[in-house]
Structure formats: structure tokens, C-alpha cells
């Protein structure tokens, strides 16, 4: 298994999903060695974790998030900062040489940063390569088919052409892969993500958002967004919708949790729209600040331009908050009982937020029914699909060898 991050050193959903997926797979009897690009302490006992240290490197330290530069410390004592693209190259080279030493049947790689490593390992060993797509470059760039970094797109294109199988986390993502890279549908299997409910921390008696809690006692309603402040997440449109919402329902607060390159732009925009006092930016949160944000909300909003899966609405319902999501979100394929809107439809977004804020019957019905759908979710179905896929490819390898 080739992946870029695992909790607690994750910057987003990818690490969480890899962790939960591997745990469920290992319970099913799959023996996993997970190769990370860095070394750090962890408490994972259900699989082997191997740091991919390039030759001569003693330690790789993450400076910040998984997508920042890393500091490489060599045995001879010298240090070097390497950017993301460079790390990805180093990782590929290292995995190629690791592959020759290791025993394994399947190479399973998560997202573009590990694709070249996967291809290299496949070339060295002839083992089948499965590429698991949690997002593609045009999702992250947020600007349609032609948007994104051409170097990254080249890696994705090559990977998709050469992989033995592609796994997409939603039909939406499968469609995007077909659209962006002209890959035939038969090459791509949809395996939806799920959520490990037992891993979700429980709420304590007191919510850390004291101000919002107090406002709610005076009839205010809270609309929450949690995610990176980046083009993909479509927050400028949410703020434009927020302005319209506040005109109709003035006692509405918007809580924006997360960090990212759009932070200052969004601050400025909310001031320009005249809704500064209705929008709170809480910054990046973990732990209680994170889970209480879901809990304090009357409605969770994920208006992404393109969301390959989108875990946060499931986390929101765990804490009792129903969701409005964009039609362009994969999670909408497994959850029917939520409000949906096109990401560009600002009036539609505002209309549905106002409805949710003004009508308790709507919120209650959404919550009740989404909770029922959520309760039925588990990793089992996804893991069954994956292990069947493994079996098919191992059989193929055996036939070729024979």
C-alpha cells in the first residue's frame, strides 16, 4: 500500500480514509505494508508501516502538513529541504528499490503523489497495480477539465493508462477521470468510502463555541462549513449566498472552520458583502474545536465545485447536523437525505439555507432520515469489493506465470 499520509500526521481526509480502509481490510485478513514518505511515531498495530527513506537519508521530517516541504537529514549530517514534487520523485525511486526486497502480491497506491512509485514497483516486480483515486488534479484546482498543474496531470494520465485497475471513490470521480483523461469506464471501478463510527470522538457537555451557543439560545441559527479554504471548496459562492440568507433571515451565523490560501480573500469578501458580523472564521481546528463545530451547527454546508467523495457531511450527521451539499459531490451517491444544489447556483444555495434555518420540520426530517442512512454505512461493502478485486488480479498474475 502506497500512501502519502496517515493520522495523526494528516492534513485532510485522505489520511483518515487510508487509515480506516486499511484497518477494515486487515480485519478481513489482508496483510498490508503501508509505505509512507516520512517517519514518525504512530500507534497503528493492524499493519506494518514503513518509511520510504531515500538512500543515505537518516530521517525525513514533515515541516507542516503533508503537502508542505520536508526536511531530509542525511547520514553524513547534512540537511536538505525538498518540495512536494521533489519528494514525490524521491519517494518513487525509494519505493522502486524497496519493491525488490519485499514480498507482496498487489500494489495499491493512493492518489498522484504515489502513482510514479506504484508504476516503478510494478515495472520492477510485475505485480498488478491498483490506483485508488481520492481526487484528481482538476478537482483540486477547481477550474474544470483544463485546470491544474500540467506536471501533475501528466503523472495522473500516465498512471491511469498503465494501471491494471483504477478505483474511484465515487461515480462522480469516475466520470471526471473519464472526462479528463479519456479512460474507458471498464477500467474504473467505483468503491465508495465509508466512515468508522467507533473512531468518532464523543461530545462533551460543554460546546467550545460559547458565543454561538449563547446566540442560539436567543433564536439564532448556525450554518457551518469545515474544510480547507481553497478554490475547490467554493467558499466565495457560499459567502455570496450568505449575504442573501442574512437579508432573509438576519439571525443566521456562518461558522467557517479551516485554513488555506483563500483565507484573507474570504475575510475581505465577507467585509465587502457587509456580512462581517455574520461570519466567523475559526481557523484550522482539531479535537474539540473540530467536533464541536459540527455539533453547534443547525446546518452543515459543503458547496464544493467538485468533491470526489466528501467525508464531512457524514461527520456532521454523527454530531446530529444535517447537510446541504453540491450536486458535484460523491457522498451524495450514498446519502439521499440531504439538501443538494449546484455549486454555481448562489440563489439556490441561499434558498435552501434559508429553508433549513427557518423550518425546524425540515431540519428534523433531514436529520432523522440521514441518521438512518448513516447508521447503515460501514466499510464492509467497500472492503468486500476491494478484496474481490485483489483476488481477481492475483489469479490473473498466477495464470500469466503458469
Amino acid at each position: 500500500m502506497l500512501g502519502w499520509e496517515l493520522p495523526p500526521h494528516n492534513s485532510g481526509g485522505l489520511g483518515v480514509v487510508c487509515h480506516q480502509l486499511c484497518k477494515a481490510l486487515s480485519h478481513k485478513g489482508v496483510d498490508i505494508e503501508f509505505v509512507l514518505p516520512y517517519s514518525s511515531p504512530h500507534d497503528i498495530d493492524f499493519m506494518k508501516i514503513t518509511p520510504a527513506h531515500p538512500q543515505g537519508v537518516a530521517e525525513v521530517i514533515k515541516a507542516g502538513g503533508a503537502y508542505d516541504s520536508y526536511k531530509y537529514t542525511y547520514h553524513d549530517g547534512h540537511e536538505e529541504w525538498v518540495d512536494l514534487y521533489g519528494q514525490q520523485e524521491l519517494y518513487a525511486r525509494t519505493v522502486a528499490s524497496l519493491a525488490e526486497e519485499k514480498e507482496f502480491d498487489i500494489i495499491h497506491a493512493h492518489d498522484w503523489l504515489t502513482f510514479r512509485a506504484g508504476l516503478a514497483a510494478r515495472q520492477k516486480t510485475g505485480r498488478p497495480l491498483i490506483l485508488h483515486v481520492h481526487s484528481i488534479e482538476s478537482d483540486r484546482a477547481g477550474g474544470g477539465r483544463d485546470s491544474g498543474n500540467p506536471l501533475v496531470k501528466e503523472i495522473e494520465r500516465t498512471g491511469f493508462m498503465l494501471a491494471d485497475k483504477i478505483i474511484a471513490v465515487s461515480q462522480h470521480t469516475k466520470n471526471m477521470i473519464m472526462r479528463d483523461y479519456d479512460i474507458p469506464g471498464e477500467a474504473i471501478e467505483v468503491v465508495h468510502n465509508s466512515i468508522e463510527k467507533a473512531a468518532m470522538p464523543t461530545l462533551s457537555d460543554r460546546n467550545v463555541y460559547t458565543y454561538l451557543t449563547a446566540l442560539k439560545q436567543h433564536g439564532w441559527k448556525v450554518v457551518v462549513n469545515i474544510g480547507r479554504l481553497t478554490v475547490q471548496k467554493n467558499l466565495p459562492n457560499l459567502l455570496k449566498a450568505a449575504q442573501k440568507v442574512v437579508q432573509k433571515s438576519p439571525k443566521t451565523m456562518f461558522l467557517i472552520v479551516g485554513s488555506g490560501e483563500q483565507y484573507y480573500e474570504l475575510l475581505e469578501q465577507s467585509a465587502e458583502l457587509g456580512i462581517g458580523k455574520n461570519v466567523l472564521f475559526a481557523g484550522f481546528q482539531r479535537g474539540q474545536g473540530w467536533r464541536d463545530a459540527f455539533a453547534v451547527g443547525d446546518l452543515f454546508v459543503m458547496p464544493s465545485v467538485s468533491e470526489p467523495f466528501g467525508l464531512t457531511p457524514l461527520e456532521a450527521i454523527q454530531y446530529g447536523t444535517p447537510s446541504l451539499i453540491s450536486h458535484q459531490s460523491g457522498v451524495g451517491e450514498i446519502i439521499q437525505n440531504c439538501l443538494k444544489v449546484d455549486f454555481w447556483d448562489i440563489d439556490g444555495m441561499a434558498n435552501k439555507i434559508v429553508a433549513a434555518v427557518d423550518h425546524p420540520a425540515l431540519r428534523d426530517e433531514l436529520r432523522r432520515n440521514m441518521q438512518r442512512e448513516y447508521d447503515r454505512l460501514s466499510w464492509n461493502d467497500s472492503v468486500d469489493k476491494l478484496s474481490a478485486l485483489y483476488d481477481r488480479h492475483m489469479q490473473k498474475t498466477a495464470e500469466v506465470a503458469a
Partner: protein, 402 residues
């Protein structure tokens, strides 16, 4: 004598368009969607007229002319009659032609296909009177037999219809009500002295309405010959009450299923099989047969779903609160004397609006059971409530605070 009582129900609601909170207080055109929209009443009426009303009436007219013994009963709501007058005079004329044969009887109901009986007896009676006048004007008949919306029925409704002078009333022949009895006789509602009760034989009705085109059904393909053999085999039966939506012919069961051929052969097959066989209209059946027993229905039954209750319309809090709030406007709305406002309020009472808000199949993931022009039940609720608030806005403009 052994008689078939064929009764067809014709109805189309005024669907609420995609009506947002930004329309509320601005536009009062709730029912006027653009022609190509899913909620366009005009487009849907054109489609149904073309696929169902016109071709079916053509065949029915031929059958009535060729078989003087062929009879049928129709109920046609005021809302569909208005739409036919406006958008398909040809289809309306074809219904009128059926009535000129003297072999077709029109059944009484509420003009707006509403659940008013359960919320306001006064409003209910007005709608029944409106419907009677419309039927008299268009068809030259005064209905003698009553059916309430969705065949909803209980002792109170029967008592009301008895006092109102109806000769008969229609209900679902639901097994828990009938107990050991069969629906194939005429009955009398408990606590009444004059009125008689016809109960739908749902098994035989559903063979035509639901199972006819189902190739997986063991009796497929169903021919008129086979069907009349079944009917003839019950020695003691007096009436076979075949009640169904008119749109069964051509809309629910497509022409390619052979439904029109079935219909075309039914009269000659049934009448030709035995000299005792007959077709009767609802009031003819009531006049011909004695009532065999009293039927006690304390709790409301309908002809819908496996539950046969009102839960598809009034089962969740969105449905319960929206209908309750709508009826709470009754007095102030009527006091305005504003005919357009009153009519819009009445159009919002049509039961279909509440049916579209039903989540019971939705939450089980069985969304195929959800027939609606809206993407989700929540969208139905949001559009409806925005229109409801506009009705209140119009009251407010007239200085009426509610």
C-alpha cells in the same frame, strides 16, 4: 346478475414550480413553471393527454358505441378539468363525448383533490359543491355517488355522505376491514341508514393497474379472456369493483404493454361469456344489489401503499406542519374575498403536494417508489413553504396579520 363496476379516477394537480425564497413576496405565479421544466403543468398535461386521455377515450367511445351493455364510472377532479379546458380542449371534448352515450357516470369528490375533510368540514363542503357545479356545467350530470380523495374513508365520511344525500360511497376493500367477507358484494357503512358502500377489489384491480406489464409476473401476459375467466369462476360474487387511476391506460401501463388491446376485448369477453354478466355504473350497482352487511371503519383507510392509510400524505412532520399551517389561513383568506388568492390557497391544498414530501420510501433508499417532479421530498417542502409564505405575504399586503 354478476357485474363489473369499472371506475377510473382522472386527476392532475397544479404542481408548484421551483419557487424560491426570493420569489416569495415578489412573484405569485407558483404554478407556472417554464414549459420544459419538470414541474410544468402544461407540459405534463400535454403528455398525459396525448399518451393516455385521447387514445383511451377513443377506444372507450368505440366500446361504448359497439356494446350498449358496457358501462363505466369516472371521477374527474376540478384541477384536471381546468387544465384540460386550458391546454387540451380536444381531450376534454373526448370525455364529454363519453358522457353523451348515457353509459358513463361521473362520481363526486372535492374539486381540488384535497384532504380538507380532515381539516375543515366547511371548506370540504365548498369544494364538493364546486366540483358538483363543474360536473353539471361540463357533463350535464349531478353525481350521486361520492369518493373522497385517495379513496380515504372512515365512518365519519360515510355518515357525512349519507346526510348529504349520496346514494353510495367508494372505499378500499382492505382485508383487515372486510375480515372474512369479500369485496364482491354491496355493503352499508355502520351508523347509516340509506347510503351503500362499494369496496374496491384490489387484487383484481391491481392485476390491471400494476401487474399488467410486469413480465416477471406468473400470470403475464394477462388477456381479457383469462381475466374474465377468473371473474366468472366465483359463483356467488355479485359485483367486481375494479377501481384504478385512469392514467393506468397509456401512462402507467404503456401502449406497448398491450393494455389497450386488453381494454378493447374486455366488454365482449365478459358480456359474451354468460347471459347473466353485466357492466354497471356505480349507482346502477347500488340500485341493483341489496347490501349484505354493515362495514365499520373507525380509522381512516385509503387505497395507497401496503399500509392503506394516510401516512404517504401526512406521515412526517414536514407534511403535518405544512398542511396544518395552510388550513389555519382559511378564515383570513376567505375574508379577503380575493378570488385569485382564495383559488391559489385552494390549489395548495391538493393532496399531491404533501405526497411529494413523503420520505418513507426515500429514507429506506427505495427511491423508485417516489413519483414526483422534484429531486427530493425536501425540495417539494421548500417550494411549497415558500409559496405558502407568499400567500401570507399577500394577506399582509391587505393588512391582515396572521
Amino acid at each position: 346478475m354478476k357485474a363489473i363496476v369499472l371506475y377510473l379516477h382522472v386527476h392532475q394537480p397544479y404542481r408548484v414550480r421551483q419557487y424560491t425564497v426570493f420569489d416569495t413576496g415578489q412573484n405569485h405565479d407558483y404554478f407556472d413553471a417554464p414549459y420544459d421544466d419538470r414541474t410544468s403543468n402544461e407540459r405534463i398535461l400535454h403528455k398525459v393527454a396525448e399518451k393516455s386521455y385521447i387514445p383511451t377515450n377513443q377506444r372507450l367511445l368505440d366500446l361504448l358505441r359497439n356494446n350498449p351493455g358496457f358501462k363505466l364510472s369516472l371521477s374527474i377532479t376540478g384541477t384536471v378539468l381546468e387544465q384540460l379546458e386550458r391546454w387540451s380542449p380536444e381531450a376534454l371534448r373526448s370525455f364529454q363525448e363519453l358522457c353523451t352515450t348515457g353509459q358513463v357516470e361521473i362520481v363526486a369528490e372535492t374539486y381540488h383533490h384535497s384532504l380538507a375533510f380532515f381539516y375543515s368540514r366547511e371548506e370540504f363542503e365548498k369544494q364538493v359543491a364546486m366540483h358538483r357545479e363543474k360536473v353539471q356545467a361540463l357533463f350535464g350530470q349531478t353525481p350521486q355517488v361520492f369518493r373522497n380523495t385517495e379513496l380515504s374513508y372512515n365512518n365519519d365520511i360515510a355518515y357525512w355522505a349519507d346526510k348529504a344525500g349520496y346514494k353510495g360511497i367508494l372505499a378500499e376493500g382492505w382485508d383487515p376491514i372486510l375480515d372474512w367477507r369479500k369485496p364482491n358484494y354491496v355493503y352499508r357503512p355502520s351508523y347509516t341508514n340509506h347510503i351503500k358502500l362499494l369496496m374496491k377489489n384490489y387484487r383484481l384491480s391491481d392485476d390491471i393497474a400494476f401487474r399488467f406489464g410486469n413480465q416477471a409476473w406468473s400470470e403475464w401476459p394477462l388477456t381479457a379472456e383469462k381475466f374474465t375467466d377468473w371473474l366468472g369462476s366465483d359463483q356467488d360474487a355479485e359485483v367486481y369493483n375494479l377501481f384504478m387511476d385512469y392514467e393506468t391506460f397509456g401512462e402507467h401501463q404503456w401502449e406497448a404493454s398491450g393494455i389497450f388491446d386488453f381494454l378493447s376485448h374486455l366488454p365482449e369477453q365478459w358480456l359474451g361469456a354468460h347471459r347473466d354478466h353485466a357492466f354497471l355504473t356505480v349507482s346502477e350497482a347500488i340500485g341493483t344489489f341489496e347490501s349484505r352487511d354493515y362495514i365499520d371503519v373507525p380509522d381512516t383507510i385509503t387505497w395507497a401503499d401496503t399500509e392503506r392509510d394516510l401516512s404517504a400524505w401526512l406521515g412526517n412532520p414536514m407534511q403535518q406542519t405544512s398542511i396544518k399551517e395552510l388550513y389555519e389561513l382559511e378564515k383570513p383568506i376567505l375574508d379577503t374575498g380575493d378570488l385569485q388568492l382564495i383559488e391559489d390557497w385552494r390549489r395548495l391544498q391538493t393532496s399531491d403536494h404533501f405526497y411529494y414530501m413523503c420520505t418513507k420510501w426515500w429514507s429506506d433508499g427505495d427511491i423508485h417508489a417516489y413519483f414526483s417532479p422534484y429531486e427530493t421530498p425536501y425540495d417539494a417542502y421548500i417550494n411549497f413553504m415558500n409559496a405558502y409564505h407568499d400567500v401570507r405575504f399577500r394577506l399582509l399586503q391587505k393588512g391582515v396579520e396572521v
